[in-house]
Every structure is written in C-alpha cells, then in structure tokens.
C-alpha cells in the first residue's frame, strides 16, 4: 500500500473525545488501508510532578497510577474491539511518561504519518496552550495531525459503516 497516509496513530486517554477520535481513525484506516496504531500513555510525568509539589502523597500517586494503568488496558481493549468490528486490525501501544514526549517518540519510531487526537477543550486560554498535553503534542509532533470534531456525526458514521 502506498499513499499519503500509510501509518495512523490515535491517542486515547479515556475521554469521550478520544474515543470519537479512535472511531474516526478506524474508519480512516479502513478507507485508506493504512496501518493503525492506538496508544494510551499513563502520564507518570504529571504524577511525579504532583508528588514533588506535595499535592499528592506517595500512596495517592501509586493509587492513581494503578487506576490509570487499568484504564489503559480497558480502553485499548475497547479500541481493538471497535477496530475488529469494522474488520480493521489495530496494534496497541501502552506507554508511561510525558504524553507529548512519548507521542513524538512513537511518531518517529513507527514512522507515523498521521496523528489523530480528540477535540480539544471547549474554551481555551493562552495558559492552557502550555499545559494541555494534546495541544502540546499537536504543536510538536513532526507529522500531520487531525483533530476530530463533531462527535455525533462521527458516531453516526461509525455505527452506519458496514463491517467490511
């Protein structure tokens, strides 16, 4: 297969917006034949920062990390199941670290040519641009990025798409 899109990576964090992005990426993979990857990144960078600044105590940090690792398993499995329901084979990547840094590394390592992320928050401030991980990723990854909007339309597209 050759074309402008050969390898797609979708970032999943468990939010409704990211699951919509996953659906869109699955449909895009099916339409283009591009290889599909989905990733969930446990933000251990943020967990460590919260511990250092004493917002978290150690037991709390461990509890949150455990919860996020469970989320990673749950949502990546859900992503694989959604892809399989459309006859698309998906590879999942579970990582720990800083989200935007890990996304950049994955884009390079797997030669991703399209990153798909969910819609950003409704209202944004200039301050958020420096703090939001998706925002930082889309500004810094070396590949093209699609920000998936219009959840209702995407869910309809996904539901009405035949398996093959």
């Amino acid at each position: 297969m050759s074309g402008p899109i050969e390898r797609i990576l979708v970032y999943i964090d468990g939010t409704e917006e990211s699951l919509t992005a996953a659906q869109y990426a699955i449909l895009l993979s099916k339409a283009t034949g591009a290889k599909l990857y989905g990733t969930f990144i446990v933000n251990t960078h943020a967990l460590n920062d919260l511990l250092k600044s004493h917002i978290f105590v150690e037991s709390e940090q461990m509890e949150y990390q455990r919860d996020l690792e469970q989320d990673a398993g749950k949502y990546l499995h859900h992503f694989e199941t959604m892809a399989a329901s459309k006859g698309v084979e998906a590879e999942t990547l579970r990582e720990n670290g800083s989200v935007h840094v890990k996304l950049k590394e994955m884009v390079r390592e797997f030669e991703i040519d399209l990153l798909v992320v969910g819609e950003l928050s409704r209202i944004r401030s200039r301050r958020d641009e420096f703090l939001n991980e998706s925002e930082r990723a889309l500004r810094t990854v070396p590949c093209s990025v699609i920000v998936v909007k219009d959840t209702d339309r995407v869910w309809d597209l996904f539901e009405n798409d035949s398996r093959r």
Binding site: N43, L50, H54, E60, Y64, S125
Partner: protein, 149 residues
C-alpha cells in the same frame, strides 16, 4: 479538560467567610450544592477530610488544593474560594492559605482529575497570577482571569 471548563461564577466564592480550614471546605461544598453540582454534601466532606488526614493539601505561596475521588460526583467538579486575609491550613511554608481549589472526581475519571490538578499546579506557579487571584474582589474577576490566561 481545561480549568475554565470547570469554573463559572456560581462555583467561585470571594471572599470566603470562614476562618478555619474545615469550615472553608464546608463553605465550598455548600457552594457546589447550591449550584446544583452535588447532591450529598456530607459524603463529599468526609471524602475531603479523609484525604486531608493523610497530609495537608495546603501548599506553598497561599495555595491549597483539597481534593478527593468520590462516587458522590458524576463528573469532574471544582469550586474555588479566595480568602484575602488568609487562613491557617497547615501549609508547607507555614504561611496562611488564600486560594482554595476544591476538586472532586468520580473514581473512573482519574485521567481528567490528574489533568486538572496538573493545570492548577502549573497555573499557580506564576507569582503574578497568584497575586491577581488573591486580590480579585468578585467571582466574575476570577473567571476572567482564567479566560485571559
């Protein structure tokens, strides 16, 4: 989720009336109750106090971030209170706490909860932003501060 998505005038109290940490928690929880954001203030107070007993959530530079995971909320929820005079809250630098971010999240929303806490930690690193928060006189001014970034 950006902080500004969690804040509106109905969940901001300026100035706080309480002079004791535990009363501040109750004041902010009651504010959320009045705003229709929560239905069981007592369960939430217990969750906040249980977390507080591990270690004080009053940080340095006048900022406090009481928080808890609780099934008593369905979505990430925040209240913000300002005490211009400051409240003794066992802070890390021993100074009074002026700005209280009270954050509640359901157990299944660990990711957004973490993101919100990180955003607060990042935003309040700025000395000028902290000063603007502490000197704000109305909820509208506070909301504008977050919108302006």
């Amino acid at each position: 989720m950006a902080l500004i998505d969690l804040i509106n005038e109905n969940v901001v109290k300026v100035p706080l009336e309480s002079a004791v940490k535990e009363d501040v928690f109750r004041e902010l929880i009651n504010l959320l109750h009045s705003a229709g954001k929560i239905t069981d203030p007592e369960e939430i107070y217990d969750a906040i106090i249980t977390r507080e007993q591990l270690f004080s959530t009053a940080l340095e530079n006048g900022i406090a971030i009481p928080h808890a995971k609780t099934k008593a909320v369905n979505t990430l929820t925040m209240a913000l209170g300002i005490s211009p005079d400051g409240i003794e809250a066992e802070s890390q630098d021993g100074k009074p706490s002026h700005v209280f971010f009270l954050i509640l999240a359901p157990p299944e929303q660990t990711g957004p909860h973490l993101e919100a806490l990180s955003e607060i930690a990042g935003a309040t690193k700025s000395g000028s932003f902290r000063r603007l928060l502490i000197t704000a006189r109305t909820p509208e001014e506070i909301v504008e501060l977050f919108q302006d970034g």
